[in-house]
């Protein structure tokens, strides 16, 4: 069944099936919205955070979605700056994924602060020395850029295209998109890095603290690098998931292979740099503050040394080595298995750089690790972006020509 609002030449499911699909996601959104109400109305006492865990699940979720949304800026960089035309076949999807990730990040930040109505203070009373200020500025401006990148995609809807003004607007915006892509890349390099700087500058927290270059700790560069490496893999994986759900081929394999190859090399170089950083931190930085490596990995049930092994070896070197080989990339199971491992590795990295920093005891007379498990309100509001993402992507997939190769790959429709 087709309606005039659905792009020409592609087939979509019936309205009833689509609404049912949206309804399930909407229920999860409602659950999250109820949690949001509890938090905004009653305050952060509705969470399981405490004075030891000023940063907890939400900050991890923030760092994670922004890193995974890095697929938007790096794909834009590859498509518009480097000129890899093949990447343009997935760029619309990457942009929408980016919009989902970045709007989610801002929503979560709005929940996480104790006085949300004072959120504008970060711009008005900005402390230029704070990494969080840099994050707030770059993140907000970049979201603006993402929305500008999203508008021409939105205007591609057949009904909107009938309006002459919108038709020309979308055409002209496409023409100048490289400028916005370049701006987005510039901003993203900074805010991805600043997010890395958030834990890296904490010289009172030896687990997080890193030396660096001028005012930027090494985590600044590692966060940017890892987001650029894993972001496109997340885009590719979500695209593959969309293919599986819709039971349609939407993007040619060579697009996946190209992204996988670039991400593979990025991931390999990242994980080598990360290993060097870890070795230097473990042998020079931490000991200078009186800590041995195992002080951070023992005596607690969650943060033992295996979390480091999982991050660097299993979810770092292993997927990188799979992705840099042609055989690995051309085997779908291996390719997406490696992509999932890399995504998990990124999530572990952001997790330890937020939660383990808070958990590790610093004063010798406080031997107990600070343990934390999120409240249902934190979980619901962290899952909310996933359901919201499903809704936005479903609507975009149904009503917008997201995938330029879809018609060619599904000629029977």
């Amino acid at each position: 069944m087709t309606t005039p609002a659905i792009p020409e030449g592609v087939k979509r499911c019936g309205s009833r099936q689509f609404l049912l699909w949206l309804g399930v996601a909407a229920l999860v959104v409602l659950w999250g919205v109820y949690a949001m109400y509890r938090i905004w109305f009653y305050g952060l006492n509705q969470t399981n955070m405490n004075n030891a865990y000023g940063f907890a699940l939400w900050i991890w979720a923030d760092l994670a979605v922004i890193a995974l949304g890095g697929g938007a800026f790096f794909s834009g960089f590859l498509a518009y700056i480097i000129g890899l035309k093949n990447v343009k076949n997935i760029i619309n999807f990457a942009v929408i994924l980016g919009v989902v990730c970045y709007t989610s990040a801002l929503l979560i930040l709005g929940l996480d602060v104790g006085q949300p109505l004072r959120g504008w203070f970060i711009f008005w009373h900005a402390n230029v020395h704070s990494m969080l200020t840099e994050v707030a500025f770059c993140l907000s401006v970049y979201l603006g850029v993402l929305i500008i990148e999203f508008i021409p995609v939105l205007l591609e809807n057949p009904k909107i295209q009938k309006v002459r003004f919108f038709h020309h607007l979308s055409h002209n915006m496409h023409e100048i998109m490289a400028v916005f892509a370049a701006t987005g890349v510039f901003l993203s390099f900074f805010h991805q890095g600043s997010l890395g700087g958030v834990p890296g500058v904490l010289y009172g927290r030896p687990f997080a603290f890193r030396e660096g270059l001028f005012v930027w700790p090494w985590t600044f560069f590692l966060f940017t690098w890892s987001a650029a490496a894993v972001g496109p893999l997340f885009t590719a994986s979500m695209c593959r998931l969309t293919e599986a759900i819709t039971r349609k081929k939407l993007v040619k394999d060579d697009v996946y292979h190209l992204l996988a190859k670039i991400s593979g090399w990025m991931l390999l170089t990242y994980i080598i740099a990360k290993s060097i950083d870890t070795i230097y931190w473990a042998t020079v930085t931490a000991p200078s503050m009186g800590f041995a490596l195992m002080d951070f990995y023992s005596n607690n049930p969650l943060y033992n040394i295996w979390i480091l092994v999982a991050e660097i070896a299993v979810c770092g070197f292993l997927p990188a080595l799979i992705l840099i080989t042609r055989k690995g990339r051309e085997n779908k199971k291996l390719l997406f298995g490696a992509a999932i491992l890399a995504i998990i590795g990124l999530l572990i990295n952001r997790w330890v750089m937020v939660l383990q920093v808070m958990a590790a005891p610093l004063m010798p007379f406080q031997e107990e690790w600070f343990m934390y498990s999120p409240a249902w309100t934190e979980v619901a509001t962290s899952i909310l972006p996933i359901a919201y993402g499903i809704i936005l992507i479903s609507l975009a997939y149904r009503y917008l020509p997201l995938f330029p190769q879809e018609k060619e790959l599904n000629p029977g429709n």
């Binding site: 305050g43 402390n127 010289y203 007379f365």
Partner: protein, 267 residues
């Protein structure tokens, strides 16, 4: 920009706490709650949800009876000078300048109406000296009449911490000004509530840079040390103890390392 106006006398307020004198009575905590309008709830057993500005810890040497030794360690905000003077761990990270390093006094301030509750400063503080207002402050009936008019109560959703009773400094400065000696604040004119409440005189407060103040001599004692000194936070709170294990408990050391102070050397 000049950090201290030329007409302002530079002071560096600090505290020296003698751990060999502290009995762990927690009078300092009670005085602090009362002086600074710190809110509390019926249920205060989860200490990581409390907003105490000074907290007393119980340390033991870990040895079985009869060699067991106990030490009580009161821990206020360390008012860190930071790696470079004024670059305190919390001040440098606050995105909205809601906490600031006061160069004329060396005290780290907290502006409650500026703070929007991101808690980055709490993540930056290795001492857990900063507390978040998880709830709106509610006092038992009639107790509001006993609140100090000099200290504003804090609202839900902002961070607060020890200010070395800065309002007392302001009061002392005002009095000195009224008496025609604007920069001459005597040692006894500005004392924190915890210092005055301590029954065993374990807490001494004053200008760390002023040779006439007791803290000046005490901080240079061979028994003096600071908490987590190796992190380079440069605290303005010093501790005194003649016991080596207490020195060791105050910082982190690798297996082959020893604290600068040792009982053997002293003997």
């Amino acid at each position: 920009m000049e950090k201290i106006p030329s007409h302002t006398k530079k002071r560096h307020f600090g505290m020296v706490i003698d751990l060999d004198k502290c009995t762990g009575c927690a009078s300092c905590m009670v005085a602090c709650y009362s002086e600074n309008n710190i809110s509390f709830r019926d249920e205060e057993s989860v200490k990581m949800l409390s907003t105490n500005w000074i907290q007393v810890f119980k340390l033991t040497n870990g040895k079985p009876f009869p060699d067991t030794e106990v030490c009580y360690l009161p821990k206020p905000c360390m008012q860190c000078d930071g790696k470079h003077f004024g670059h305190s761990p919390c001040v440098s990270v606050c995105p909205a300048v809601a906490t600031d390093f006061d160069y004329p006094t060396g005290i780290v301030s907290q502006i409650y109406t500026r703070c929007f509750g991101c808690r980055y400063c709490m993540a930056a503080c290795p001492y857990h000296a900063r507390k978040f207002n998880w709830w709106d402050p509610v006092w038992p009936a009639d107790m509001e009449k006993y609140l100090s008019p000099d200290v504003s109560p804090r609202m839900r959703g902002v961070v607060e911490k020890c200010t070395f009773c800065y309002h007392r400094f302001q009061r002392a400065r005002q009095q000195a000004y009224n008496e025609g000696r604007p920069e001459d604040i005597r040692e006894d004119e500005y004392q924190t509530a915890c210092t005055q409440a301590c029954p065993s005189n374990a807490i001494t407060f004053g200008d760390l840079d002023n040779p006439d103040h007791a803290v000046y001599k005490l901080k240079n004692s061979r028994y003096a040390f600071r908490l987590l000194e190796r992190l380079n936070t440069n605290p303005s709170v010093y501790y005194l103890s003649t016991r080596e294990w207490v020195h060791r408990a105050a910082d982190n050391y690798l297996e082959h390392e020893q604290p600068a102070f040792s009982e053997e050397q002293q003997a």
